[in-house]
């Protein structure tokens, strides 16, 4: 594949906070159906980069181009705000580390899943509820929880609900910030299985920020390692994890506790 087919094309993106922190000189391409992992320690600029990519933070420099459904390349940060917000509702999904940031805690699970549908004009209650039921099943939440508020859900269920809510109207690109953070290992494993299945079924392009190399190895096709705001190493996941070149990556890989 050539650069021409990339769904997201990032060039020299930088975002600094008062001259330090943030991220700088980040460039990469993402292809449809590909999962890109971004790993690095706390404060390495992963989340800042993700915020820039998903249009929620304006970078100081660089360009982020997204290929729309009609094949046209759109400069994410030069788009008018209504179009960018529309893109966020229709083409993109954002899964937050803390499900409370991504869910509406005051309304039922069904309403949470249906919100995106209603935001793009669905006005038939029965159909909205039908999709909500369908998606609860797909993320392995019991259908009779549809009218319960997310407040009554466990952490893992909340995270799955958040994923359902983001995928309900068939986005093409999903940003995930530590989707398994704060979950215990068995719940993590189920969530990872689920994510892997959904990404494959829906042919999603996906950017996953994580500090957990296990998550990266399971989900990501390709890996970027960040340190002090820069990308210090990138390549196929297995290649990076099995044969790290940069001293920091070597340190990172060797710091994983053996189970």
């Amino acid at each position: 594949m050539s650069e021409m087919d990339a769904i997201l094309s990032v060039r020299d993106v930088a975002k600094l906070y008062g001259g330090r922190g943030g991220c700088k000189e980040v460039s990469f391409d993402l292809w449809p159906g590909e999962v890109l992992g971004i790993v690095g320690e706390s404060g390495s600029g992963k989340t800042t980069l993700l915020d820039c990519l998903s249009g929620r933070r304006t970078p100081d420099a660089g360009r982020i181009m997204y290929r729309g459904r009609d094949g046209e390349m759109l400069d994410v940060h030069a788009l008018s705000e209504p179009r960018r917000r529309l893109l966020m509702r229709t083409d993109w999904g954002i899964v937050h580390q803390n499900p409370r940031d991504g869910l509406r805690m005051g309304v039922s699970a069904g309403a949470n899943i249906g919100e995106r549908l209603m935001a793009v004009g669905a006005r038939h209650y029965g159909q909205i509820r039908g999709s909500a039921n369908d998606w609860l099943e797909r993320v392995e939440i019991d259908e009779n929880r549809i009218d319960d508020r997310p407040m009554t859900f466990s952490g893992g269920m909340q995270q799955r609900l958040q994923i359902a809510r983001n995928l309900v109207n068939g986005p093409r690109l999903v940003f995930m910030d530590e989707p398994t953070g704060g979950l215990d290992v068995s719940v993590q494993a189920r969530l990872l299985d689920l994510l892997r299945r959904l990404v494959r079924e829906m042919h999603l392009a996906c950017i996953i920020v994580t500090h957990d190399l296990g998550v990266a190895r399971l989900l990501a096709h390709r890996l970027m390692v960040m340190k002090d705001g820069r990308v210090i190493e990138e390549g196929l996941t297995d290649q990076v994890l099995d044969d790290p070149h940069h001293p920091y990556t070597q340190l990172l890989v060797s710091s994983v506790l053996p189970a």
Binding site: R85, R104, M118, A119, V120, G121, Y125, D147
Partner: protein, 278 residues
């Protein structure tokens, strides 16, 4: 008319400022125009917004009617009516048909309004999106971009929980196909009356400092789902005083044993009907 006050209490500069806000509101139906709300000699929540709008549009030849929950004889209605009788010296009435200006809290009169009449609503919370989105910066953006999906989330939630749209007052409406508007806490029974009403409708929120308007003959559509259409409240019995079966009824407890009766909330319409029957 008492001496020492400017006509209709407010000073002329304030009235001009409020009239500008009203004109802008009329020009953009349903859009909430910020204005520099003044302190009024009554507490927030008692109609400070409505009273400022009334003070700005009232003239010496106007005939004023004030209703609270449909009734002309409740404390709020009586004191606001007397306020304008004293500060503006205008004629007041309890008859809907005789009034040129009607200030209301929580109801629209049963008798259809005519061209030339003005209906002023007292509004506690002007922002219909507030319950779903607490940030003012965000709700303004949502209005600007007409992102109204969350209003249906609220209605969805109603149906999921109660089997029907249970919101019965302050039911959100779409004005002129563009802005979603809170009709103030009128019962949804009154929502259909707002649609293409010949009278001018002005809304004042004193504490929240917002004015909005619906010009005459403007479409006002209540939000709903295709398979759960908007509908208004119904009662099993007619009004026990006047026998009307097409009006909004209040339940009144009549003794300590729990006896109750249903009567019209619009006292003027009820009395007119009783007179006509007698």
């Amino acid at each position: 008319m008492s001496k020492g006050y400017n006509f209709a209490y407010l000073d002329e500069q304030t009235k001009r400022m409020i009239r500008r806000a009203i004109l802008k509101g009329v020009a953009i139906p349903g859009y909430q125009v910020p204005f520099a709300s003044r302190e009024m000699p009554l507490p927030y929540g008692w109609g400070t917004g409505g009273i400022q709008v009334t003070a700005s549009v009232i003239g010496p030849n106007d005939v004023l009617k004030v209703i609270d929950q449909g009734a002309d004889d409740t404390t709020n209605a009586v004191s606001i009516r007397r306020f304008f009788a004293r500060t503006a010296g205008v004629k007041t009435t309890e008859r809907t048909s005789e009034a040129s200006l009607i200030q209301t809290r929580h109801r629209i009169p049963e008798q259809p309004l005519k061209e030339g009449q003005i209906l002023v609503y007292q509004v506690p919370i002007p922002e219909p999106l507030r319950w779903m989105e607490p940030r003012e910066t965000e709700t303004r953006k949502m209005h600007a971009l007409a992102e109204y999906g969350v209003m249906h989330v609220k209605l969805y939630e109603d149906i999921a929980r109660f089997g029907r749209i249970a919101s019965s007052y302050n039911y959100p409406v779409l004005v002129h196909g563009r802005y979603v508007m809170a009709p103030s806490p009128i019962p949804k029974f009154d929502n259909p009356k707002m649609d293409r009403m010949p009278a001018l409708q002005l809304f004042g929120a004193g504490r929240e400092k917002r004015i909005y308007a619906v010009p005459p003959y403007t479409s006002v559509k209540s939000l709903d789902f295709e398979d759960h259409p908007f509908e208004v409240q119904r009662w099993d019995k007619p009004c026990e005083l006047c026998g009307a079966s097409d009006t909004y009824l209040d339940e009144v407890i009549t003794d300590d044993q729990g006896a109750r009766m249903f009567v019209c909330s619009d006292s003027d319409a009820c009395q007119e009907r009783q007179k006509g029957a007698a």
